[in-house]
Amino acid sequence: MSDPQVDTTGAAATTRRDRAQYAVCAALAGLGVLLLVDAARIPHVTSSNDPLGPKPVPMVLGVLLIVVAIFYAIDVWRGGVGEAEAGEDVDLGTRADWKTVGLLVVVFGVNAMVIDTLGWVISGSLLFWGCAFALGNRHHVRGLAFGITLSLITFYAFAIGLGVNLPAGILKGIL
């Protein structure tokens, strides 16, 4: 927060300033304002049982969010960089692959829209196949076969076996 030695983050900090971080600060401040606006709308309800009421906590959080956004922005301005998360399959040397991420988001959204009508077995199979495709799988038959197998197994094991909520959809009566 007030550490003067922010430049010691490593090579990334000195070679490239990450201006996109200001967007995060703005989002945090915006969230804070949203909390304050919403809290202002809540009527002041207190009683002897609850002298505090529902208002103060969101108000305090809203103010703190704005304060943290300011400190965050100061840190970024002084060259602070948050280290992106590494992992076994993560190659931070490359640029972000927005096409893959966008495709995944679309596949995910389509599934959310059709899950109730088509049912989990069909929508889940499509979800698996679509995600694998977005991630670079080009064996379509194999991908679809894995998807169908997985959704059938999960449907029978969890929905029918354990009583978990999964929709049968248009296959109702067949499964």
Binding site: P54, G87, D91, D97
Partner: protein, 507 residues
């Protein structure tokens, strides 16, 4: 000994075929996902949560305990054979473990990791049995003001002490607390941050948050940066150790346990610090320090033991006070809430059989893991070859299923996607994940205790500051927050550079 008879009862309860089966499923699934890249124990427990609502809580907790310990075994396998640790706690293991594997001693590295984990896990669980009742006896006396103060210590600790940047930790915490506010206020029935949406009125289910942040966020993040060429996996046979390896390993195991357990047990201790301390200690004490950096077995044995002992330590605050100190414990606590059990000092009083069966299952699971992992290591290593498109498609598949199953409404899937994008953002900008999860789970509890304290004091703000325990907590909080200033003012001390050490909270 009251504890001992309780524990024996716990053992009697777990030694039924069905419960043993759940323990076996837990350790198997745990090891598998620990080995698999991109999936950690926290994500696994989150993914499995919804499907366990149909089970008995005890059985589900037995399974979770197996996943918790198993995930750690699997994680060490990955870092030794692949040199790209998936979890921050395994970073230190990879330092020497991967060097050993490259020098043809993979079998010994895996063996010392597995046996060391067993030793540390068993001693750690025994310490848990001794310490937990004392902590409960202490915590049960605490009133709302003290509980509030302890929760605030947990918040500040998770945000400011763990992780690499304090301001980023607090940003993450506040996002979590904000998510916790959404829904109908539990006392007055007022809607907060619901924007008139009926689906938001019940609040956002913790499962949806956890699955969104851990599973969907991780999958999207990896998708954006997928390594096109998979890392080389070092082939391995059955793990074994020679007499010399045993001689060099047993002391580091015990020292690692001594480091790990206390750090796990304090809020915001974590596994990163003790594994690192253990590594430094072993390097200093080693007879041949020149071997460090080229595959010294002590450098695997010590940190692995510290890692597992710290996992056992985290169960002390989780079971005794209801405060999670790592992500997996946080999700296990939310599971308890899902069954309508209130975590906290009264849990052991109300559900003694559940708690003691859980503890007994830790002993059993640990033994199963040793028997399972020594012979099966080559098979586990094969899991590292799974094609990445299928792996991450599978994660998204199970994430969708789990989140939908909670309420059976497609709205939750859109929420899941939004939270997944938040998780992506956290990873992109180096914001830690743990404070957010802790904020979501403990935020409403902190508000409840805060409001109850004021109720007791009749609205007087002094009611928030209770007895000596609360004072100690607030002094700790002030110290942590003011530390950068203090470090500057104190003469002869250079500002601590802890703010920017690359430690991340694992998924």
């Amino acid at each position: 000994m009251d504890n001992l008879s309780n524990l024996i009862e716990g053992f009697a309860n777990i030694l039924t075929p069905l419960n043993l089966l759940f323990a076996l499923i837990g350790v198997t699934v745990g090891t598998a996902v620990g080995v698999l890249p991109g999936i950690g124990p926290a994500m696994t427990v989150a993914l499995l949560l919804p499907i366990t609502y149909g089970l008995d809580p005890t059985q589900a907790m037995i399974m979770f305990a197996g996943i918790f310990y198993g995930g750690m075994y699997g994680g060490s396998t990955t870092s030794i054979l692949l040199n790209t640790p998936g979890e921050s706690a395994s970073v230190v293991t990879a330092l020497e473990g991967n060097k050993m594997a490259k020098a043809g001693r993979a079998a010994q590295a895996l063996a010392t990791a597995a046996i060391g984990s067993f030793v540390a896990g068993t001693i750690g669980t025994a310490l848990l049995v001794l310490v937990m009742p004392q902590v409960v006896a202490f915590a049960i006396e605490l009133g709302s003001p003290e509980m509030l103060a302890i929760l605030l210590v947990a918040f500040v600790g998770a945000s400011a002490v763990l992780g690499s940047s304090r301001v980023r930790g607090f940003a993450s915490l506040l996002m979590g607390l904000t998510i916790g506010v959404i829904g109908i206020d539990f006392v007055t029935g007022q809607q907060r941050l619901t924007f008139g949406s009926a689906q938001l009125a019940d609040g956002i289910d913790v499962v949806v948050v956890a699955v969104g942040i851990f599973a969907v966020g991780e999958a999207l993040w990896v998708a954006a940066h997928l390594r096109r060429k998979a890392g080389t996996v070092i082939p391995v046979g059955r793990p074994w150790m020679g007499r010399e390896d045993w001689r060099r390993s047993w002391k580091p195991w015990l020292r690692g346990t001594a480091f790990g357990f206390p750090f796990g047990a304090i809020p915001a201790g974590g596994a990163e610090v003790p594994t690192f301390l253990s590594y430094l200690t072993e390097r200093r004490l080693a007879k041949r320090p020149e071997e460090f950096g080229h595959g010294a077995i002590e450098g695997v044995a010590g940190p692995e033991a510290a890692n597992n002992a710290s996992a056992a330590g985290t169960l002390v605050p989780m079971l005794a006070i209801g405060i999670p100190t790592n992500a997996t414990a946080a999700i296990m606590l939310s599971a308890l809430q899902g069954w309508g059990l209130e975590p906290g000092p009264f849990l052991i009083e109300k559900q003694p059989l559940l708690v003691w069966t859980l503890v007994a299952s830790l002993f059993i699971g640990n033994t199963m893991l040793l028997l399972l992992n020594l012979p099966l290591a080559p098979i586990w290593a094969k899991l590292l070859q799974i094609p990445r498109p299928y792996l991450y498609a599978g994660i998204l598949f199970f994430a969708t299923m789990g989140a939908y199953a909670v309420n059976a409404q497609p709205f939750d899937l859109f929420l899941l996607l939004a939270l997944g994008l938040v998780g992506f953002m956290l990873r992109r900008f180096g914001l830690p994940v743990l404070p957010l999860i802790i904020g979501v789970i403990l935020g409403p509890l902190a508000e409840k205790h805060g409001r109850r304290s004021l109720q007791l004091s009749g609205g007087d703000l002094n009611g928030l500051i209770g007895g000596p325990v609360a004072w100690v907590c607030y002094v700790i909080i002030a110290g942590v927050i003011l530390w950068p200033l203090l470090a500057k003012v104190l003469p002869g001390r250079r500002p601590h550079d802890r703010d920017h050490t690359p430690t991340e909270v694992s998924a």
